[in-house]
Symmetry: C2
Subunit: 437 residues, 2 copies
């Protein structure tokens, strides 16, 4: 995908230090978070790198970055152990000695004592910074960062004039606290901003990514705002990104594009930004003063869990029954043994009886029921893995219909998308009955 | 964290192409997946990079990497749209013309027609490869990759001898299919392996990361195998990584370390690798021929969902009741109005009654109940956000006790860790009653 073009050179880079990233042990969530923050400040960055806990390779990566960018943001390698090498490597890369900062050592000791842990010799290493560096305070942890311009007079060859490095620990909460307390402000005042980005995510259900992309293909080439489709778990999103001189102007650029895309999306568009199908359904019913219950077989609680994940769900969502075993379907939901025998648990008549049963015993206005074959076992020619029957019961009757996801999707996908599909059917039915479809 | 040291130079690098990574729109899951695969093949890689969809900066990054590494793996930028620039930039970076491969164009057309979509002119761009490149087939999508040694005779300055680039699309499923069908084999035969890595993740519940790290601190400096602690959502893991000449030797290195760590972990250690608390509890009860039901208030279905996420859960997990509203606690679970009035819904007496009620109506051997304040609203001085009462009912009686997570954790964390805590209490109780504690 493209973004509004940048007029300037590559000013900012991110370098994440840690062998665990090169082993694939963890996802690089820090790089993503920093990228989001930089975009929010209107500061483009054009390169990210990852190196391991290796002094020589770290120094090489630092020297390379110093020749390209004005500001380098590093994460990781600030801890007390021997493989935490970032500060030392930076000092070596740019030829400065390390010195102990008494105020930093005092702060580290105080924090450790407050946690009931005696300061160790290894912690004292964390109080070393290159001569001339400014402390980047760590409000929560013991590893301090720094802001350092190694060559303020621009005498050294191979460094971009004014090259400055900002170091952060790899622990996400500490990195974020330091960013918010000190670094974001420093970056804003460093004159790196090239405008402000605003973005908006529109969320769709019941349409394939390729089909949605075709419907909006004329927008996919738009330079500003840009429009980019992504496929999620069952849902498809369009991400709109605009750049302008200030936040209000960026928001104004988004408005007509969003309005047009909402028009084209019709009922497939269910929400925006942080909305979920569950939050949208809860809002719809809350406005109508109505309540909802669930009867879950193949989703096993996941549908209720999605509803309960939304803060304030309790004024609409009453609860329900997890009817995983057939005995629970019979005894708690009143599904008839004959229906289970004749049609099987994975069938429209059973889904209908589950939804009606839970609506009755909870006294809810609406009820959703799921029964299907989530796999990997339990499928048959007649009822393959991925077949799910979903029923919606409401004041004006009960409807059930199957959906076939296919076995290759896997159990967790089938369970999650079954819950989403149930919520989407209720959403459409309520909107259509209200004449909003 | 450290890994077993590498004897060789930096042979392999990964370069991910895509402005969405620089905007922070998505996590770089491809880099992590490739890192895991390379580690599994015993091929160390020492650098990862990310650049946007910008021809000039992409060419610069390619030239830099070509001077450092023998094999460069790229992802992204192989699609049909104008901002898909990877193939073109590679050809330009290493001075080769592009040529259309008729067999590739035929394959793209066939795939599009099979999907009912007419091939567009933009798709034809995807059939262009640099002269001399080998096709890296894409079994599932239309974007082919390539394996190309731009300077096989080693004549060009600035390229490492034998420098070879492998390109993959950014769509994770296509990248993985291409890796498994062709690239993994190619890399294994390229003589890059420096032994084989084996790893093992031990999973702990009920112990803090810092406390576990102290208990095993002597292992944290071990060079081979390495032992690294990570904090997850409620759980803590230790990742053991060994390197040796072959898989059996690597596994033998892990064995004594794992045995020692299991001994030290005691009851806190609940499983390894792909285990979850739910899968471990289901296995325990399955071996005893016993069944389980749940009664969920604050978790709203998430506990049942965690159990149902495990394939084959149905022979142990019967289901239960999502008793989100107090009326459901009374009417379906038989919680007395007096208990709700006197103690409040978030209390041990109510948790006890919920667990006993669901055990009775489902006829299960064991039952778990949760009732708490997940927040962000609904807290009081007496019953703050993060207070959750969890009850375990079984053949030998019912026990309930509160746990206090604190409000700063957030709703989804409180819900997920409450479900985990409930499962862990059942696990410990079953193990202790069986004399395995």
């Amino acid at each position: 995908m493209s973004v509004p073009p940048s007029e300037g050179p590559g000013d900012v880079e991110v370098l994440c230090v840690g062998t665990e990233l090169l082993l694939g042990s963890i996802l690089n969530g820090n790089a993503r978070w920093l990228a989001e923050q930089l975009a929010g400040l209107g500061i483009p960055h054009h390169r990210q790198g990852v190196v391991g806990d290796n002094r020589e390779r770290l120094i090489a990566a630092l020297r390379e970055a110093a020749g390209r960018c004005r500001v380098l943001i590093t994460t990781g390698g600030l801890g007390p152990t021997p493989d935490d090498l970032t500060t030392e490597a930076i000092a070596a890369a740019f030829g400065a000695p390390l010195e102990e900062r008494p105020e930093v050592w005092a702060d580290i000791q105080a924090k450790l004592v407050a946690r009931g842990r005696p300061p160790a010799a290894s912690n004292r290493r964390q109080a070393l910074l290159p001569v001339g560096a400014t402390l980047l305070p760590n409000p929560t942890g013991t590893a301090p960062g720094m802001i350092w311009t190694p060559d303020p007079e621009g005498k050294e060859a191979g460094l971009r004039p004014g090259f400055t490095v900002l170091t952060f620990p790899g622990v996400p909460s500490e990195m974020r606290a330091m960013w918010q307390a000190t670094a974001a402000d420093w970056l804003q005042r460093a004159g790196l901003s090239q405008g402000v980005f605003a973005s908006r995510t529109l969320r769709f259900w019941g349409v394939a990514e390729s089909s949605l992309a075709e419907q909006v293909s004329d927008w996919l080439d738009s330079p500003n705002p840009t429009v980019a489709p992504y496929a999620g778990t069952g849902e498809v999103t369009l991400r709109l990104t605009a750049r302008a001189g200030d936040a209000a102007a960026a928001a104004r650029l988004l408005e007509p594009v969003e309005a047009d895309l909402r028009q084209r999306g019709g009922l497939h568009l269910y929400g925006a930004d942080g909305d979920s199908l569950a939050s949208v359904v809860l809002d719809l019913l809350r406005r109508r003063g109505e309540t909802l219950a669930v009867a879950e077989s193949c989703t096993g609680g996941g549908l209720g869990g999605a509803l309960a994940a939304v803060p304030g769900a309790s004024d609409v969502f009453l609860g329900g029954v997890i009817a995983y075993a057939n005995a629970v379907k019979r005894n708690l939901l009143g599904v008839s043994p004959e229906a289970l025998e004749h049609w099987g648990a994975v069938s429209d008549p059973v889904a209908l009886a589950m939804a009606e049963g839970v609506r009755q015993i909870t006294g809810s206005d609406w009820a959703l029921a799921t029964t299907g074959v989530a796999g990997p076992g339990g499928g048959s020619a007649d009822k393959p893995v991925g077949l799910v029957h979903i029923a919606v019961a409401g004041p004006d009757g009960t409807v059930s219909a199957p959906v076939r996801f296919g076995a290759r999707r896997g159990r967790s996908w089938i369970q999650a998308v079954s819950a989403g599909e149930a919520l989407d059917r209720l959403r459409r039915r309520v909107l259509e009955s209200a004449g909003q479809g």
